[in-house]
Amino acid sequence: MTISINCRIQTEDFSVTTEYQALQRPDCGAVVLFSGLVREHFAPIAPLSCENTSAGVDRLLALELEHYPGMTERSIIAIAQQAAARYDLRAVTIIHRIGVLPVHEQIVLVGIASPHRRDAFAACEMLMDFLKNEVPLWKKAHFQQSSAWVEAKASDKTALARWEQRPS
């Protein structure tokens, strides 16, 4: 069974349409896509309530993504291969953007094509958890008045642990 793995780190935007079409396989009944976007109301540590944000508390303008050229690309291919070893996948696409990404911009795309939906869902969610914990990428939040590096969330580590408990 061949599997096509397509991983890219890029500054330019990606097209969900193009990637969705490229993922399709005649023997795949399921395509799952995850798209991560820069949302408003982003708080680097403690979440701000909507009321505070709209009342003029420092507003997020953009996220800046830094990576480790070489290692980041290799890490992403490595996690794609781990997912492919664990689930019945036929195509995996991972695109992560770097540089300055204003609010509403697309940051990351994970796309999976599989004969069966459960494999596609599990692999997509696993890859997002691995991306959040194991790939050298760092976010800096640029607010109107200040900037701050985003701190790693405990909930992302917890999410990662799920994949260690499950049988492969």
Partner: protein
């Protein structure tokens, strides 16, 4: 005395900003543990010591994540960085 070999140490994200440099070159003569290498950098200046102190650091040696106890061989590329936050 052995010839020393340059060992590149890279810094990323908040650590890069705190160190005020993206990298340093260390002239190592013998293999050292990562934690010893971090100590070595901290002794170079008070600014480096402050940047490295009390911070959760991840380490990659030759682009592979390793622990602080891992040995660094002269000529390796070491990267130090905060916990990742991509995705």
């Amino acid at each position: 005395m052995k010839a020393s070999q340059d060992t590149a140490v890279l810094f990323f994200a908040s650590l890069r900003e705190a160190m005020k440099t993206p990298n340093l070159n260390l002239a190592l003569e013998n293999p050292v543990q990562v934690c010893e290498l971090v100590q070595l950098i901290a002794t170079q200046s008070a600014a480096y010591a402050a940047a490295l102190a009390g911070r959760e650091l991840l380490v990659a040696v030759n682009e592979q994540l390793v622990t602080q106890q891992c040995m660094v061989t002269p000529g390796d590329t070491v990267a130090l960085f905060p916990p990742v936050t991509g995705g």
